[in-house]
């Protein structure tokens, strides 16, 4: 479904992503894990077109999307929940969700209903300004907003960041729910344990390079990963 081939991304002179290739197949949950600054977010930004790779290509459903402008990608079925949520703080919850459906002709009631079913909290607070929501609610809003356009591939960047353990569990169970209704998911996480537990496959990044890959289970049991990321 999504194929990144030989990506190299620079921030000025800093070589942030080095020869990265990976793939997400239809119906999978794939995780990119790694420490802070390993380049996980940079990869997602490159797929979304906010950053450009100097080499290689990104293909999505057999279409080369390496040079498509970011705002046109949503129409291809690719939705990105950025790190730090980035909800529109001064707009209401409902308006945020409407923005998620900006690429559609109009807001589909069924999409809205689905978001409210997944996140009942958002329905309760639909007329509230997003800036007054708690961190967890903002994460739910960011995710709800991203699925308003019926994406085929959902990219989640650190969805559990800064949330309490209960909320982290909730967010991960929602990711599983989204996956079970047929959304393919590319997940970036620092919480490697949780991420590997729900992933079909995962890639491990270290200073801009993919150093390891395998199924979620394999990686979760690998000694190296345990030592480096799982605290044991």
């Amino acid at each position: 479904m999504l194929k990144a081939d030989d990506l190299n991304v620079y921030y000025g002179k800093i070589h942030a992503i080095k020869n990265v290739s990976f793939e997400v197949k239809n119906g999978e949950i794939v995780s990119l894990i790694g420490a802070n600054g390993a380049g996980k977010t940079t990869i997602l930004h490159t797929i979304s077109g906010l950053l450009r790779s100097t080499t290689g290509s990104i293909t999505f459903e057999d279409k080369n999307i390496s040079h498509i402008e970011p705002h046109k990608l949503v129409r291809h079925g690719l939705s990105h929940v950025p790190e730090g949520r980035h909800v529109f703080l001064q707009m209401t919850v409902l308006e945020n969700l409407e923005m998620g459906a900006y690429s559609m002709k109009k807001v589909s009631p069924s999409a809205l209903k689905r978001v409210y079913e997944l996140f009942p909290r958002l329905e309760e607070r639909k007329n509230q300004i997003a800036g007054t929501l708690s961190g967890g609610e903002q994460q739910m809003l960011a995710m709800g907003r991203a699925i308003m356009c019926h994406p085929k591939l959902l990219m989640l960047d650190e969805p559990s960041m800064g949330l309490s353990p209960i909320l982290v569990d909730q967010i991960f169970s929602i990711i599983k729910d989204l996956h079970s209704v047929g959304t393919t998911i590319l997940l970036v996480e620092q919480n490697a344990g949780k991420a590997l537990a729900i992933s079909d496959r995962a890639y491990v990044l270290e200073s801009g390079r993919i150093v390891l890959s395998g199924t979620g289970k394999e990686l979760a049991e690998s000694e190296e990963i345990k030592k480096a990321y799982l605290g044991g």
Partner: protein
């Protein structure tokens, strides 16, 4: 007999005092009306400022000069080309919208990720550029805008007159402000503008074409400027290449006064500024008017740095 004279004297005195009070109150009302009229022009200009600032996050100091261009266009089409006033206004509005888009495209778009200082200096450059173009084309002699409409004045009592220009200006400002508020809050494009104003990257990820949205913002802001030039033209009739700068600066002040980025704030700030200006002219000193106006601004900003209706933006991390 003596008593009668005495009572008569008192009655006369009381009547004089009442008459004086009435004159004072009438004068005050007349001054207030003048202030509101001037203030609506400021408000119209401030709406453009605040809209562009609110969404593109930049101070478009060339905004005042777009008013000047709009006024010259009305002058050219009506006085020189003998178009009907309505056609002249349409030409002015359409050309200003286009001018706004062109300025944004040529001068500001390349600086989208540059520091705000570079953008500000560019805007000042654009302002001087427009003034000098006008100087080249029309010369420094003031030009007179012909009478566009004859709207009868309203007479209240003996001494209060509301001129047609005042009513037109005020009416136009209220209509535009209402339309703008509805547009920003209720339409898809308006909401997209607010999204862009808050977070360009996130807006892009939603599928919003940020560049196009900002272009449209400039077009709308410049349309406000064209309407302001219409109101300015019918009230003040004379225009020269520097016509736009002082109202531009005053209106910028009004926008900051009301809380820059806020639409009702621009309206309130504009009207208050006009009223303060006219009141201080009438009751304090003509020479010190501008000092008083800007003094009030400084005072407001000391007490409430975000302006009267400005929002404190809180961010949750």
């Amino acid at each position: 007999m003596r008593k009668c004279v005495y009572v008569g004297f008192i009655v006369k005195n009381i009547l004089t005092i009442i008459f004086r009070k009435v004159t004072q109150v009438t004068n005050l009302i007349v001054t207030l009306i003048q202030g509101i009229s001037l203030g609506s022009i400021y408000a119209l200009i401030a709406l453009g400022y605040t809209m562009v600032y609110g969404i593109a996050k930049m101070l478009n100091f060339a905004h005042g000069d777009i008013i000047m261009v709009g006024a010259y266009l009305i002058y050219t089409s009506v006085a020189l080309a003998h178009c009907s006033p309505i056609l002249g206004i349409l030409i002015s509005v359409a050309s200003c919208a286009l001018l706004g888009i062109v300025i944004e495209f040529l001068a500001y778009r390349l600086l989208r990720r540059a520091s705000s200082l570079s953008v500000l200096i560019t805007a000042i450059g654009v302002s001087y550029f427009l003034q000098n173009i006008a100087l080249l084309v029309f010369g420094s002699e003031p030009k007179s805008i012909p009478v566009l409409f004859n709207i009868p004045a309203i007479q209240i009592g003996n001494s209060i007159t509301i001129t047609g220009e005042t009513m037109l200006t005020l009416g136009l400002t209220v209509i535009i402000m209402t339309a703008l508020t509805i547009f920003i809050n209720k339409t898809k494009l308006g909401k997209a503008m607010r999204a862009v104003s808050e977070d360009k990257d996130a807006a892009m990820l939603m599928g919003i074409n940020v560049n196009r949205t900002i272009s449209i913002t400039f077009a709308i802001g410049s349309i406000m400027a064209a309407f302001a030039s219409l109101c300015y033209g019918i009230s003040y009739t004379y225009i020269k290449p520097t016509t736009g700068s002082m109202p531009g600066i005053k209106a910028f002040t009004a926008a900051v006064f009301g809380g820059i980025g806020s639409i009702p704030g621009a309206m309130l700030g504009g009207i208050l500024l006009g009223v303060i200006e006219k009141l201080s002219m009438a009751y304090i000193s003509t020479q010190f008017t501008d000092a008083i106006v800007f003094g009030v601004l400084i005072l407001v900003l000391i007490i409430k740095p975000t302006g009267l209706l400005g929002k404190q933006i809180r961010e949750k991390v």
